[in-house]
């Protein structure tokens, strides 16, 4: 089977959107690794519950790069709740299809984004009383880890 990418996939591969890193991201995640042949790193900047900026780095094939590019383009500006619901099937549909052996790329990209959102959420603490107020706690992971000890 040949790798027949759609024009849209090719464009995202040749001119990927949102590549790079975000300094001091509100959420970060790495998914995959070099041994498997795919790795994506996602960086999030969140403001008022919305994805203000999202960037990625890729060690991966053309469709790994293209799916991450499309996904970041789509979720930029979405609320966290909306972005969490973004499906890999939608990535595939938006690209006009992917070769069957490349479907896993779209799954990995969506999982990576969700992992970065989970990282963002783990850094948030919602005040139990009076609801609505959201307080940001830095280094919560470290604090939790320290408590466990």
């Amino acid at each position: 089977m040949a790798l027949n990418y759609t024009k849209k996939t090719i464009n995202h591969f040749l001119k990927p959107q949102n590549i790079g890193e975000i300094n001091k991201p509100d959420g970060y995640a790495q998914i995959g690794n070099m041994v498997c042949g795919d790795q994506l790193d996602f960086f999030l900047k969140v403001e008022k519950g919305k994805i203000k900026d999202v960037k990625f780095l890729s060690f991966g094939c053309a469709s790994n790069i293209a799916t991450a590019s499309l996904l970041t383009e789509k979720v930029k500006g979405m609320t966290i709740a909306e972005a969490k619901k973004y499906k890999w099937e939608t990535v595939v549909a938006e690209l006009g299809g992917l070769p069957s052996q490349k479907i896993h790329c779209s799954i990995m990209a969506v999982q990576g984004l969700r992992k970065a959102i989970a990282d963002y959420e783990s850094r948030q603490v919602i005040e139990p009383t009076f609801g609505k107020k959201v307080k940001k706690v830095k280094n919560i992971k470290k604090t939790v880890a320290d408590k466990k000890k």
């Binding site: 040749l14 042949g37 991966g60």
Partner: protein, 383 residues
């Protein structure tokens, strides 16, 4: 510009070869098994073709069998010799850098109850006689070790390896698909009992190959039917393909000296330049014990298929490892076998040169490759 640097996968048919093939499709289309004049003329050409192949390979005409290609030849020989010689023993030895058609044939034998051993290549990509000696015994029916590896172009010492096989009374087979015309094959001097070739690897046609089966070697045919090729391989003789293969083989050796010089110059110039102008490259396999047509390069922080696709959109054809690995997405068993760090198994490109490549194509490729690597490294998470 279009640049074809995937000659290890297949090569462009030489137009002179095509010219020799054409009459066998349009005028001399007789079935070589027919006894009328059209059939008999085809039959005579077929017999002549066997003589010509035997002459180049230093073997005997009656041992030359034409097949559909090396995959068939390798399947036929590995399985056929094992199945027909079970009185000798139960063991088959193949190297761990063989083409999948040899490896999978061996695996099929293992499932059928044969004892199959994989002799490991060293870190240079060479299978040594010492390594073979460690695994072989009197029970061994067949040893199959490729002449030249398809992914990294490394060359095995066939004469020394066949000696080890014969010491234990085993037959020696070599898949010599990638060896033409880089090595002078002399079946008798090199101690080769069985050999496989494929027409399209040396600017001949696809769909035709050779299985050389030494005199007196018992073999179970893979394809049965009308009894062609002395009952060893049934099916109508593919005269256009056979005549094309033979002529391509003759041309390859006739023009060998000048070609080898030119291809080595291009390959060495390419490697020297990219190694100087792109940081962090590593050559997979020995530089000296490989054919002048092959380069297999590790790029470190970026993924092979991304490099391949980026070059492809610039008109350049290369491969990741081998053409077979392009669609099954498995890391190269050859690079694993030579002990490449597993982090880098997915960062490699094979550049395989051929007789139609020019210096300006290589210059264009160098420039394109520099851009590709720079672009992809720019957003790689691996620092």
């Amino acid at each position: 510009m279009k640049v074809y640097l995937d000659n290890g996968a297949t090569t462009r048919l030489d137009p002179r070869v095509l010219a020799k093939m054409k009459p066998y499709l349009t005028e001399k289309y007789g079935n070589a098994s027919s006894i009328h004049f059209l059939g008999q003329s085809a039959y005579l050409d077929l017999m002549g073709a066997k003589e010509r192949v035997a002459k180049i390979l230093g073997g005997e005409a009656e041992s030359v069998i034409f097949t559909s290609g090396a995959t068939e030849s390798n399947n036929m020989i590995v399985k056929g010799v094992a199945l027909a010689n079970q009185t000798k023993g139960n063991k088959i030895i193949v190297s761990n850098i063989e083409h999948p058609c040899v490896r999978e044939s061996a695996n099929e034998l293992a499932r059928a109850g044969f004892k199959v051993e994989f002799v490991p290549a060293n870190s240079d990509g060479i299978v040594t006689p010492e390594a073979l000696e460690k695994l072989i015994d009197k029970e061994t029916i067949l040893v199959s070790i490729m002449t030249v590896n398809n992914e990294i172009g490394t060359i095995n010492d066939i004469t020394a390896l066949s000696k080890v096989a014969h010491k234990y009374g085993a037959y020696f087979h070599t898949d010599a698909v990638q060896a033409i015309p880089y090595l002078k094959i002399d079946i008798k001097k090199m101690g080769i009992d069985l050999l496989s070739l494929s027409g399209h690897k040396f600017h001949g046609p696809k769909g035709v190959g050779v299985a050389y089966i030494g005199k007196g070697i018992k073999i179970k045919p893979l394809i049965v039917g009308g009894g062609q090729e002395n009952n060893l391989r049934s099916g109508t003789y593919n005269l256009p393909g056979i005549m094309g293969l033979v002529y391509a083989l003759e041309l390859a050796y006739k023009e060998r000296t000048a070609y080898l010089k030119r291809v080595k110059e291009l390959r060495d110039y390419f490697w020297k330049t990219i190694n100087k102008e792109i940081s962090g490259l590593k050559l997979n396999g020995s530089l000296t014990k490989r054919t002048p047509a092959n380069l297999n390069v590790m790029f470190g922080s970026i993924e092979g298929e991304a490099i391949l696709m980026d070059l492809s959109y610039k008109g350049i054809c290369v491969s990741t490892g081998s053409a077979c690995s392009a669609t099954n997405l498995r890391a190269s068993h050859v690079l694993m076998a030579i002990g490449l760090n597993k982090n880098f198994l997915n960062s490699n490109i094979r550049f395989s040169f051929g007789k139609f490549n020019t210096r300006s194509e290589i210059d264009y490729t160098i420039k394109a490759l520099k851009d590709t690597v720079k672009r992809l490294r720019n957003f790689s998470p691996i620092k």
